[in-house]
Amino acid sequence: MSALAAYATSTGEAFQFWILGTVAVIGALCTILMRKAVHSALCLAGTMIILAVFYLANGAYFLGIVQIVVYTGAIMMLFLFVVMLVGVTAADSVKETIKGQRWWAAACGLGFGVLLFAGIGNASLDEFTGLGAANTAHGGNVEGLATLIFTKYVFAFEITGALLITASVGAMVLTHRERTERARTQRELAERRVREGKHLPPLPAPGVYARHNAVDVPGLLPDGTPSELTVISTLRERGQVRDVSAEALADLKALEQRSAERLGRGRDEAREGKEATR
């Protein structure tokens, strides 16, 4: 297949184009329509892999591999990291806030697309040379690219290197936060808390029970209601607090009853058991 691609197009390639092209378009549409960023990223990765296949089909072997390794492998993973950092489960609101934005976007996009298609259709693209000669001139696709990169485009290549260095330095500068003042000691932090009249002792621990030993479960107040204060703020803000109070109380009651029935113990033991669990 790949050897053929260098010289002409085949029915097989057409078959492949229509199947994979459809999938690629669906992937692209999913990328822009999925509410969760992580889903978008996965769809985009799929589209990119299909594009890599197309590169290969078009005789660009080096680019096809690079597409998979660099794009799908590195760049998309970077995206996923950032998505994780920002909040993997957060979904975008579907409500549009700018008046008329969707209509304008649709109109412009449609117009643009139609004009592009018209432009392509209008262009006289009946030339087809194929890459056979070009790829074999230097002994292969990779060698051919290398020859060009290190001769004709060597200057651009070097500058691209400089760009990459600059970009990585820039990314570090942007994400790195320099501490500009001395770190506060425990004592100073305590004093500030007193001064500001905030919660003085450490915050209460989350509700760690025998069955729920997780930090996302709030501790229960003496009357059985859950206390938000016991869960860390990040989880609270993400809305990932699991409220187990009602379930836990019911479970506990059932447990006590069952054990009392099974063991036939009196109320005293039951009370002891209650104290032990506490």
């Binding site: 378009v25 990328t31 589209t47 660009a60 995206f79 950092l85 976007a105 592009l116 690219l145 990585s168």
Partner: protein
């Protein structure tokens, strides 16, 4: 099959990416859409390279990838630092440049 179909596909993907930039508010998704547009361009380059029998198109696609990589690095760094200071990755929240 006429390889021009690849060009139509590239145009379609580019348009979809552009519309995505317009309608999505999450900066990360906007970035992904930009990547999609870049990829569409690359596909066009590669197709042209094949049609003209000339490797220069692939070279340009190669450079595009490198520049895209650099751009993603810096762009995501900016998103992270904006998110750290504003607790939001929405592009609409950064609208202080208006009068």
């Amino acid at each position: 099959m006429n390889p021009v179909n690849y060009l139509y596909l590239a145009a379609l993907l580019f348009t979809i990416g552009a519309v995505g930039v317009l309608i999505r508010r999450n900066a990360i998704v906007v970035f992904m859409c930009v990547e999609l547009m870049l990829n569409a361009c690359n596909l066009a380059f590669v197709t042209f390279s094949r049609m003209h029998g000339n490797l220069d198109g692939q070279i340009i696609a190669f450079f595009t990838m490198v520049v895209a990589a650099a751009e993603v690095v810096v762009g995501l760094a900016i998103i992270v630092s904006v998110f750290r200071s504003r607790h939001s990755a929405s592009v609409d929240d950064a609208s202080l440049m208006k009068l």
